[in-house]
Symmetry: C2
Subunit: 341 residues, 2 copies
Amino acid sequence: MTMNDTFLKACRGEKTDYTPMWLMRQAGRYLPEYQKVRGSVSFLELCKSPELCVEVTLQPIDILGVDAAILFSDILIPMEAMGLPLEFHEGRGPVFPKTVRDRAALDRLIVPDPGETMGFVMETIRLLRKELRVPLIGFAGAPFTCATYLIEGGSSKVFWETKKMMYTAPELFHGLMEKITETTSRYLLAQARAGAQALQLFDSWAGILAPADFAEFALPYAKRIIADLQQTGLPIIYFANNGATLLEYSAASGADVIGLDWRINIGDAIKRVGNRAVQGNIDPFALLLPKEKLKERIKRLLDDAREAKGHIFNLGHGIHQFTPPEQARFAVDTVHELSSR
Amino acid sequence: MTMNDTFLKACRGEKTDYTPMWLMRQAGRYLPEYQKVRGSVSFLELCKSPELCVEVTLQPIDILGVDAAILFSDILIPMEAMGLPLEFHEGRGPVFPKTVRDRAALDRLIVPDPGETMGFVMETIRLLRKELRVPLIGFAGAPFTCATYLIEGGSSKVFWETKKMMYTAPELFHGLMEKITETTSRYLLAQARAGAQALQLFDSWAGILAPADFAEFALPYAKRIIADLQQTGLPIIYFANNGATLLEYSAASGADVIGLDWRINIGDAIKRVGNRAVQGNIDPFALLLPKEKLKERIKRLLDDAREAKGHIFNLGHGIHQFTPPEQARFAVDTVHELSSR
């Protein structure tokens, strides 16, 4: 089996024959093949069944022709392992019936042994490595994002409880961040040992923070994890969603690759992140454009990204469930064709 | 009656004795006095009762000591006047049971005469001007933001229908924007004639757009309204929420004042908007900080804004319903005290 290492090279800023591409949430609901698997199990059951995780992780590789696989899992799996029961409600997303809003709840959280409590993730990684001919990305939620779920008890529109804790009980907030950080470091190190070839930290809710608050309440913890991971030698990707005003901080996280959502011109972002590779950043809904227009947009993006130290083409956010898979396939083919050197 | 014109001077970039302040949604649910009025009428009834609108508009002026009043109303009032029934559901926000997703629905929309269909707004303005000793801000939603509500049928998390129309039926989308733009221009001109002393365009959802899409689908329409309003001689404020990457475009809108949400450092924003005044931008939830810390944060913001052509202190978004009014009052007093020249 020949390994397609274009993605890893781009992460490291090495020359590649073409711009590699993968899609956030490429294993997901827009694929009928995924829906079929999900038809027989709940989302959490799926996350905890290595064979099924392998199946859905592999689906988009051939269907779309992407240059990397990403472990099928959820950022809240390690939060559940810290001792908080997790539920997924159809149409409402993740729910933690018990939240962390006081010292007693914080004290009850454990820092779990990842091998013992999340062995199914490591097993998925080991099985995938036997099958894959593209690199496998492992991942975790960044501590700030994970903390919002534990504090709010699920998703939120305004994150009142999170900010209330930050502003009125900062010691409690930092205490929670410490525990999540330790958990996340151990979890990602375990993924690396199991065979992950790159690691991405998703900071999905970083964008709700003013830059000064990001620097005080979120960045130091992401930084610490990235420092811990450097011993693995693997490329690290840090993605602060809606983080256009946080880019200089994101670059200071120490990550090799900075993920970009679609709200910023990639050329402007590249100037700001300095000597780092970038990943992104087409609007996921732009996959709906008629093919000629989509091609034009991809060309413009590739042109704008020319000065990048390395560029991994991706969406600026997860692919939407109603996206026709053939449009995603067309985008991948077009990126490969237009960037061929 | 002496008029406090500090706010108007700051909008025009003239020297002021101190930094003026008002709060987005200052007439709202965080005030027990407002809750009392709302207890006896629905939200829409309130919007359509000039006497009650006057009462709630006036409440924060004395309670908080702010330097401007903003008309109590809703950005969707003129959308209803275009012919689409509007409902407000408790806990869910605005709902348009009929949406605009095809040519027939677009053709049914009218461009209403604001005096005839929204006379209650003009009456509110006329009544307020007799009472107020601070300037009165009139407002409307910017066309892009209004369009999202008509297309989605209410609020949305991902704006799938809006972007689907933009990307797959751009002529329909632009047709809708044309009609909304014409309606909004007429509506704001009528507010000016009734006595509004400044006009704000709220582009609450501009931040979901990639910069190139904002330039193509949203900005031209905001620009056209602002050009129409220039005949009034009133200061125009344009606020593109979550628009840190759109600031150069916002400045090109022609507005005198650029509103800023809390996600960007105000000093960085000032460098980017050039010769315009700015309005903002403390995180609304920072009003929860202990007084000493809140004061420090206000001081930092005032320092960072020193190079502004003009600065109106405001929150980066609407005040949250659970904010203690005395904290808001403390913020206003602190801004006045620390900025006194």
